[in-house]
Amino acid sequence: MDWVLFVTQMLNGLQLGVLLFLLASGLTLIFGIMDFVNLAHGSLYMIGAYFCGTFTDITDSFLYGIILAIPATAVVGVIVEIIIIRRLYSQNHLDHVLATFGLILCFDALVHFAWGPEGMAIPLPAILDGQIEILPDIVFPTFRLLIITTGLTLAIILYLVITRTRSGMLIRAGASNRTMIGALGIDIKTLFTLVFGAGAAMAGLAGMMISPITEASIGMGNDIIIVAFVVIIIGGIGSVKGAFIAAILVGFIDTMGRSFLDTFLKLLLSAESAETAAPALSAMLIYILMATILIFRPQGLFPPRGR
């Protein structure tokens, strides 16, 4: 096996993993605290990317673009929460799924209306557009490296916020017993809105970071959101730690499967059948992983206590 390719793909897997974590942590928090299923989380990922593109255009700087787009996406999240989502908390999961599915349609149409049907390419500044030699013989795009560091830093910050701060304590308390913290005089309504806004900001940031690579496009969130679901199912819905481990795991397995499964299958099958089986199998790999884990642990790897 090619050593250089292997390490590069490991890093690519890590990069996918941290992106998935940014999406999944918001999803799992929103579910953990509010018992709310948000299919439209992927739409915030898309909105983040488009905001970033527009702000980069206006300010002529990718950095300012991101700095402006993060609060803008959070504001969109807060507005949606106040107008629609808030009314749904008391209803059942089917209603959540349907209403947020409706939201996706609305968001896709709005983006189509505001930015047109074509995708939006986002140029990178020259410093980020190059490659770095991280190990002898191994070069890796600077920007992807930045994504990995940003993602890991955010994961650490999130961990510290949740375990060390008062708002983190409220979040944990909310996840294990919502009614009780309400009874103790905590303003849960505001807490819910803030968590939803933070989740939106993280999803938006994930979109902003991927868009210089893939460009922003309509429906870009709709595929990755299912993978984010797979992540939180594997991790245990409501657990941020589970989301992190599962995100990295899924990122690795998906990337590695796509690059090395055919080599691996050739050891077992004829070259021709390996060529045909590998793409289909590698596309299905993470779902097979999910199914296997669920057979042994129907609640995921780290089910949160108290529910």
Binding site: M284, A291, L294
Partner: protein
């Protein structure tokens, strides 16, 4: 108010609808307007799919967000044999129903171990798995889909290459499927399913193995939807993985909810309303998805009974 009187309005409506459906080809034949025939064909196929979803969603309380997988599996079971020149109709239909049943059995066995949100997301993920599976198989068209050159061949029984014959074939299929689902929901089996939706623990303590009952129900719904998929493949002469995109599953749920989960005809009304709305709104504006999405949110927030709920309400008020 007893049940019989409440029933009368929907029975009357059913009768009128059936009458219209039976004579529609004559009307479209006279006016030479194939468009409506196509619209109604699509509507009836989706109605079968929605009715099968209602069996697990409405009666069983199993919120599957992956029901479109069976539409795709059924359609590919027509398309792939046709690709190899096998156009034997009964064989294709058998394949479609059997493959859907097996897929439902395997995934259902895993999904039904979980509850609530897990169930919703897992059914969704499995469908996405099938979706990506077919996208990456280049042999059968991959992303671009597969054109079906010949429709299923039923020998001298019926020739569905002819559009009018296909129409009646689909109409009869719809009636048979609805009848079947009606029989299932009224049977002892159906009552156990209904019971395990409202209180699973109680059903279990009376001595029913609810897991097995639900799994069988899940498989039956998959088989019926697989059959609808085989019809869909025949009708469109084309299959693409897009048919089992998760948006397609969402649309099926929308139809069920729009029509109302409680009744037999609810999904049919829902499918009809969906297809007509889609056709009308998309002719109105390029951004029709927005209105559609907003409508969906409105239905969730304000109109929980769906169309059949409104019909029941009107039927009650008239008395």
């Amino acid at each position: 108010m007893d049940k019989a009187t409440r029933f009368t309005l929907s029975v009357k409506i059913t009768f009128v609808i059936l009458l219209i459906l039976f004579f529609l080809p004559i009307y479209t034949g006279l006016t030479d307007n194939g468009f409506y025939l196509d619209l109604v064909n699509r509507l009836m196929i989706l109605a079968i799919a929605a009715a099968s979803l209602n069996l697990i969603l409405g009666h069983g309380g199993m919120i599957s967000f992956g029901h479109a997988a069976y539409l795709g599996i059924g359609a590919y079971c027509v398309g792939i044999p046709a690709y190899y020149g096998v156009d034997n109709g009964p064989l294709q239909i058998f394949l479609a129903v059997a493959a859907s049943g097996i897929f439902a059995l395997i995934t259902g066995a895993i999904c039904l171990r979980t509850k609530g949100v897990y169930f919703i997301m897992i059914t969704m993920a499995f469908t996405q798995m099938v979706f990506f599976g077919f996208v990456s198989v280049e042999e059968y068209g991959g992303d671009d889909g597969l054109v079906i050159d010949t429709r299923s061949n039923f020998g001298s029984f019926i020739n569905i290459e002819d559009n009018i014959n296909l129409y009646y074939f689909i109409l009869i299929s719809l009636i048979i499927c609805l009848f079947l689902i009606h029989k299932i929901t009224r049977s002892r089996f159906g009552l156990v399913i209904e019971g395990s939706r409202s209180n699973e623990q109680r059903m279990r303590s009376i001595g029913f193995d609810t897991y097995r009952y639900r799994l069988i129900c899940y498989v039956i719904a998959g088989c019926i939807c697989g059959y609808a998929g085989a019809l869909l493949g025949n009708f469109t002469n084309f299959i693409s993985p897009e048919m089992m995109d998760w948006a397609a599953s969402g649309e099926l749920i929308f139809m069920v909810i729009l029509g109302g989960t409680g009744s037999l005809l609810g999904p049919v009304f829902g499918a009809a309303a969906f297809v007509i709305l889609e056709e009308w709104l998309s002719s109105l504006t390029l951004y029709w998805h927005f209105i559609f999405g907003a409508l969906l949110i409105m239905v969730v927030l304000f109109a929980r009974g769906g169309i059949s709920g409104i019909v029941t309400y009107l039927g009650n008020r008239k008395q």
